[in-house]
């Protein structure tokens, strides 16, 4: 609807219905179109009647609008919506907390394992160091041997397998051929002092019938190698 400089454009009835009927509200209309609509309205009786008719319809629409103006959704809608909101955000929070707790537990478990492993290694190292310092070279390593055999020299209630050297030197038994062994076994037995005398130990004659606890070092084939009297 562009106009030439000398040309005067006139709006027709169809254009008036589209552009002119609500020209005052249509902010996208140019001033030119608006003035043409006004001009057409003054010239065309049919469009003027249409405009009147539309104005009365508008009044009815405004009444309808006013009638429903204060309408709002009922309070129960808000309650339902807020309930959904709470459920969603509560479950998100619970999920976050659970995730955090799971990670914290896993981290604590890993830390605990690390501490236990570290302590175990340190205690192993200390025990090895103690054994090395206690056992001279050539002495059989008896610290970690498993019990092989129970001695038959005394009753079973009197025997025990030692797992560590608890002090004192062994005396090699007379007539024994020393066997170098890495897995000798020490057994504690009860013997009469008289028997110790037979093995060359000095014994008080008056107490020869008494039993004493002795440690026997057994070779890997089970034969006794050495003996000591624990202090």
């Amino acid at each position: 609807m562009t106009l030439g400089t000398n040309e005067r454009y006139e709006m027709n009835c169809n254009e008036f219905e589209i552009f002119g009927l609500d020209a005052e509200r249509d902010s996208s209309l140019s001033d030119e179109l608006r003035s043409q609509a006004l001009e057409h309205l003054q010239l065309c009786a049919s469009c003027a009647a249409l405009k009147d008719s539309w104005e009365s319809a508008k009044t009815e629409l405004i009444t309808l609008r006013d009638f429903t103006e204060g309408h709002e959704s009922p309070a129960r809608v808000k309650l339902r919506v807020l309930q959904e909101f709470r459920t969603k955000h509560h479950s998100v929070q619970v999920r976050r907390r659970t995730k955090f707790a799971a990670w914290a537990l896993a981290a604590a478990a890993i830390l605990l394992c690390a501490v236990i492993t570290w302590n175990w290694r340190m205690s192993q190292r200390d025990a090895n160091a103690r054994l090395i310092s206690q056992n001279g070279p050539g002495t059989p390593n008896i610290a970690w041997t498993a019990p092989r055999k129970q001695s038959g020299l005394a009753g079973p209630e009197q025997t025990a397998t030692l797992v560590a050297d608890n002090g004192g030197d062994f005396t090699i038994l007379p007539g024994t051929i020393w066997q170098e062994t890495d897995d000798g076994t020490i057994v504690r037995v009860a013997m009469q002092r008289a028997e110790l005398s037979a093995l060359g130990f000095p014994v008080n004659e008056e107490r020869a019938a008494e039993y004493v606890q002795v440690d026997l070092l057994l070779a890997s084939d089970g034969s006794p190698q050495a003996l000591r009297v624990p202090q």
């Binding site: 609500d22 249509d26 009815e60 629409l61 309808l64 006013d66 009638f67 709002e72």
Partner: protein, 200 residues
């Protein structure tokens, strides 16, 4: 739909999506009325309008990320959801026309008993309003929504175009045709001769 409103809505929505119930409540209070009226005028059913408003906000709770502030105001986004729900509602259910204008709670204006209105006048006015409402509800949905938005919700053509995501020319053309149909119906109700020529 001012810029300040847009920013305020954006801020409230961000807070609400982090779990701030007050912000969500503020958003709800700000938009529910217009949405409810739009849905009510489009469906003619208080129950339907109630369900639509609920669904709109449920969508906002469940998928707040669907709203992109770059694409427009939150109100337009909510109206967009409401429009879709209205379409679904209209497809699903036969139209209900409430004569009371009040919803279940008794909430809503209804026709207030104004000072000098006599019962007979009130009844006449109510009947007339009901006919206007029925005439609006009988419009095809795309004309109805432009008439509802521009003539009842009093949005500008530009705002309606943004809300319906279409050019302003489409709004103008839909309004023209919608008004023509509406006017024809209202003139029939008034028993006055039809003056509209464009739509016959």
């Amino acid at each position: 739909m001012k810029t300040g409103d847009h920013e305020q809505d954006g801020m409230l929505l961000r807070r609400a999506s982090r779990g701030d119930e007050d912000s969500f409540s503020a958003l709800y209070e700000k938009h529910q009325g217009a949405l409810y009226r739009f849905a009510l005028r489009m469906t003619g059913s208080p129950w339907g309008a109630e369900e639509i408003v609920q669904d709109v906000f449920m969508t906002l709770i469940r998928e707040p990320s669907k709203y992109d502030p770059q694409r427009g105001a939150l109100a337009a986004f909510l109206f967009g959801i409401a429009r879709n729900k209205v379409m679904k509602h209209n497809e699903r259910l036969p139209r209900e026309i409430s004569i009371t204008g009040r919803n279940e709670d008794g909430n809503g204006a209804g026709i207030s008993l104004q000072h000098s209105i006599t019962p007979a006048l009130l009844t006449e006015k109510r009947e007339r309003l009901e006919k206007v409402r029925a005439a609006v509800l009988e419009l095809p949905v795309e004309f109805r929504e432009t008439v509802v938005l521009c003539d009842l919700e009093e949005l500008t053509y530009d705002e309606a175009a943004k809300m319906l995501d279409c050019p302003i020319g489409t709004i103008r053309s839909r309004l023209h045709r919608g008004r023509a149909l509406l006017l024809a119906k209202l003139e029939m109700l008034r028993d006055t001769p039809q003056r509209w020529r464009a739509v016959r």
